[in-house]
Structure formats: C-alpha cells, structure tokens
C-alpha cells in the first residue's frame, strides 16, 4: 500500500511537467507580484514582454513611458540621410498590451522610493512595486557646454540623439542649408550612447550632400583621440567616397557654443563657425536614476550585479541599457539593451517564482552602420558571464567587424531592425 501511494505521489510530481510549469508561476507569489518597468525603449519594452513570456503570462507587468510610440534611435540617421522617414522607424506599444497583456501607462515617473518600493507619476497615483525595471536611457548633460541649453531650447542647436522631433528638425536644417555650407557634428568623450552613431551620422549627411549639395562640408569634431568604433572601416569609406566632403578632427572638446553666431569653442583648439551645429554633449543615465541615487559611477552610470542586473545600491531595482555601468567592451547600444533585458527578465521571473537564477548568462551584440543609403558595416560580439570576476567578458576569437562596406549587409541591417523591433515590441 505504502509503496503504491508513493509511486502515485512520484508520478504526480514527475509525470506532468506541463502542469508543473504552469503551477510554478501560478502557485507562487509570482502571480500576485507587481512588476513595474520604467521606460519603453529597447531595454524596457523587451523586459516587459519577456517577463510576461518567461512567466507564462502569470506575472503582471506595468510599463510607464511618456511617449505615445517607440521611435528607434538605430536607423534614425537614415532619416537625416533622406532614405527613410520617421514613420519607418516608429512602432506602436499597442501589441505589448494586446498580445502580451502588458499594461502601458503614458506618463512620466517623477520619483522612486527604493525603501518603500513605490514610484510616483507626474499625472497619476503613487504605485507600489515588488520588482522595478529601470531603463531610462540617457540624459544629455547640456549644462557641461556653455550656451548649449538655451540654444537647444530655442531649436538652433539640435542633438537629435534621441530620435523624434529633433531628428525631423535636423533633417529640415540640412535641407534648408545652402550648397557650400558647413555641417559640424561634435562627439563627446566616450562612453556615450551608440559609439559608431556619430560616424554613421556624418556618413549619412555626407551621402545627402553628395547628391543634393556637393559643395557642402561635414566637419566631425571629436573629443576622442580617434574614431571610437569601426574606425578603419569608416575612414576607408570616407576617403573613397566622401573625400572632399568629410573632414575628421580628433581631440576637439567643446566648451561653449553660440547658436546665433554659429560658433563653437573648444578647450584647446581654435574656435570655429558652421552653418549647422549638431552638438552632442556628455551623457549620463536618465535623470530619474541619477536623482534616486542609483548612478553610483561618477554620478553618471548605474552599477549593477551583472547576473541579475539588480542595482548595487537598491534591492529589487533592475537597471538596463545605456543607463547601466557597462562591463568592459560592452557598448551602449539598442541591441545590448535588448540583451540585458532578457537576462534581467529571466532573473526576475526566477526570483518571483522560487526558481534558480541562471548561473551562466551571456549577451550578444550586433551593430550595423549605414555609410551610404545601401552600404553597411557591422561590429558583432558575444559576452559570456565570468563567475570568478562577476562580469561579462568577450569570448576570445569571437566577434569582429565587416571586411569592408557592402550592400548585402544593408539588407541584413534593415532586417535586423524589423526583427529586433518585433522582438522588443510585437
């Protein structure tokens, strides 16, 4: 009798994994837990979707995002070059709600209380959380450059580094500029969002000038000693295709701007004037992270436990994407943020469901840059978690860049965008 009972009990446990899979999430605290995600970019949107997916839709997720739609920063340089428009790079949040049951609130978070585990909204009530995912992206440190805040407020000097209205406005500045004019793009010291982004942007503007106003110039004024990412590939393409258009000047750190006079001042180099100033200031974690005291590194980037992406200073707050203090060789990219989100989502689901945290996570990154409307270069990497050093390390012999700019990868690049937008949002 006893044995038969035990066998029955054993069968009940061992023979119905599907039932158990369901019950693991349904019977634990998971189904009653509240997860709040702040920020609907590559990190936040992906985290919201994957917490739902990985918990078999048992953990409720609330996403707070002030914008009505997702507008992609990757590919936004193509809007400046003229081969795509803003609509091409925009995705609705509707599918997150309709397909995945993520509740989306269009609002801005004004404060986080990590002790009481609550957040406050600009236009809504205080909300409690069991787990908070914070993916606030970057803030531009306009105040580090004299005159920049006022010039950006009045629309004379744009950053267009957060895709949206400024992207459209910068495109218009480029279209309005007479042939023979100068477009100056300043690059801040690394780390900043999207290391190859400035050089892709310079390439896109040069591509447009070559077609539409060939006497015009693109000046890259870089605070870094050299091109930060894919340097040899960009430089080769520039010398072969934009020789008389693009000029690259390293070690140019901007200190002040005058929007009316079109003037840029540097710490060491001579002042210069240009028709369009596209000034990228230093960047740091989104202000909500900084004001909450989560930006532990230089008051700019948020330190995390890389196994779970939980903040080193706030329990149950998981920080993703560009705002996070990156491990060595980890770029601040949309693809990376999507990868962070999956490791964090898995850890959060595990913690709320009484399961084990993945002891050996890894991340991938593939980043395409368009050097013209149909030529692309990439950089790719794989980052495995190193248990001893508690950080991610690239795998020796893996990763790399394109051998040269090519059209095949332009097809893959646009497909990458379609697939990662779907993976994050649809």
């Amino acid at each position: 009798m006893k044995r038969r009972h035990l066998l029955h009990a054993g069968l009940a446990v061992g023979a119905s994994p599907a039932l158990l899979a369901h019950s693991v999430f349904a019977q634990t605290a998971a189904s009653k837990a509240q997860v709040i995600v702040i920020g609907g970019g590559y990190g936040g949107a992906t985290a919201a979707k994957y917490i739902r997916l990985l918990s078999a839709y048992n953990i409720p997720v609330l996403l707070i995002e002030p914008q009505s739609d997702f507008i992609s920063c990757p590919m936004s340089n193509l809007v400046l070059g003229g081969s795509k428009n803003l609509k091409d790079i925009t995705t609705s949040y509707d599918a997150l709600t309709q397909k995945h049951g993520v509740k989306v609130i269009r609002d801005r978070v004004t404060s986080i209380d990590p002790d009481k585990k609550t957040i406050s909204l600009a236009n809504g009530p205080m909300l409690p959380y069991d787990k908070l995912v914070l993916s606030p992206g970057v803030d531009m440190m306009f105040d580090n450059i004299e005159g920049l805040k006022a010039a950006n407020d009045n629309g004379r000097i744009l950053q267009a580094w957060k895709a949206g209205a400024e992207t459209t406005a910068l495109r218009k500045q480029l279209q309005d500029m007479p042939d023979g004019g100068v477009y100056a793009l300043t690059v801040p010291e690394a780390p900043y969002r999207c290391p190859p982004g400035p050089y892709e942007r310079a390439s896109q503007v040069a591509h447009y000038f070559k077609q539409a106003k060939p006497k015009s110039k693109v000046l890259i004024l870089d605070a870094n000693p050299d091109v930060t990412s894919k340097g040899p590939l960009f430089k080769k393409f520039w010398s072969e295709n934009y020789k008389d258009i693009i000029e690259f000047r390293p070690n140019h750190k901007v200190t002040a701007v005058d929007g009316h006079a079109g003037l840029i001042k540097f710490d060491v180099q001579e002042n210069l004037r240009a028709d369009i100033l596209n000034v990228l200031p230093d960047m740091r974690a989104g202000s909500i992270a900084v004001q909450t005291g989560l930006a532990t590194a230089n008051k700019r980037w948020c330190g995390v436990n890389y196994l779970t992406f939980e903040s080193t200073v706030a329990k149950d707050v998981h920080i993703l994407g560009d705002a996070m203090l990156a491990a060595p060789a980890m770029p601040k990219s949309g693809h990376m943020a999507n990868s962070h989100a999956k490791v964090a989502a898995s850890a959060i689901v595990a913690q709320l469901s009484g399961l084990d945290i993945n002891p050996a996570p890894f991340l991938t990154n593939t980043c395409y840059s368009y050097v013209s409307d149909n030529m692309v270069v990439h950089v790719a990497s794989v980052h495995q978690f190193n248990l001893e050093e508690k950080t991610y390390k690239t795998v020796p012999g893996s990763g790399g860049v394109s051998s040269e700019a090519n059209t095949l990868e332009a097809t893959y690049a646009w497909n990458w965008a379609q697939n990662i937008w779907a993976d994050s949002l649809l």
Partner: protein, 109 residues
C-alpha cells in the same frame, strides 16, 4: 529492522514530495534558463525563432536539431561563409549550441 522503516508515513511522503518539488524546480529553472539563453538569438532571428515576414535573416524555429548544430559548427570552422554568424558562433560553447538546437527544434514554425 522493521522498526527502522517506521518513519511516520506523512513525514516520509512530505520528504518524497519535497524532493520531487526540488527536482521539478530544478527542471523548471533549467527550462527558464534555456529559453532566456535562446532569446539571445531572437534580436536578429525573431522571438522564439520566428522572424518577421520576408526576413532575409532566416527563422530558427523548427530547424532540425542536428542541422542546427552542423550549421553552427560550419560557421565556427569557416566552412560556411557568413557576414556575421562566423563571428557570433565562435562565442558559444558546444553545450550552448546544443541547448539552442534543442530549444529551436522544439519551437513551432
């Protein structure tokens, strides 16, 4: 000897069930990790290996296990040419590739 087996029935059953739950949790944990790890391919190859329509990047869902492993090895050893996969594949161990293959071969197309 009989006395040695006279552990109260309920306790014995509880221990057995607990062991069962621990084992079930270990299995569930492993499934969660496998799924989250495989999601690292989804950025390019679509959620659960299903790409958007007309994608030039191939879907992975439903690929036969052995075929998946062969192709990844071919990328790794250079016998299959690629734009990116020859670089990405070298970042994964054989065990990780086998885990991807198990996962994607079980996904509906």
């Amino acid at each position: 000897m009989r006395r040695n087996f006279s552990v109260p029935k309920t306790l014995f059953l509880t221990l057995f069930l607990t062991a069962g739950v621990v084992q079930a949790n270990a299995q569930e944990s492993e499934k969660l990790h496998q799924r989250a790890n495989a999601a690292m391919c989804a950025n390019c190859h679509g959620s659960e290996g299903r790409t958007v329509e007309k994608s030039a990047v191939p879907p992975l869902a439903g690929l036969p296990r052995e075929y998946f492993i062969q192709q990844m090895q071919a990328y790794k050893d250079g016998s299959r040419k690629a734009t990116v996969m020859h670089q990405i594949s070298k970042g994964f161990s054989d065990a990780q590739i086998a885990s991807f293959a198990d996962y994607f071969s079980a996904q509906p197309r």
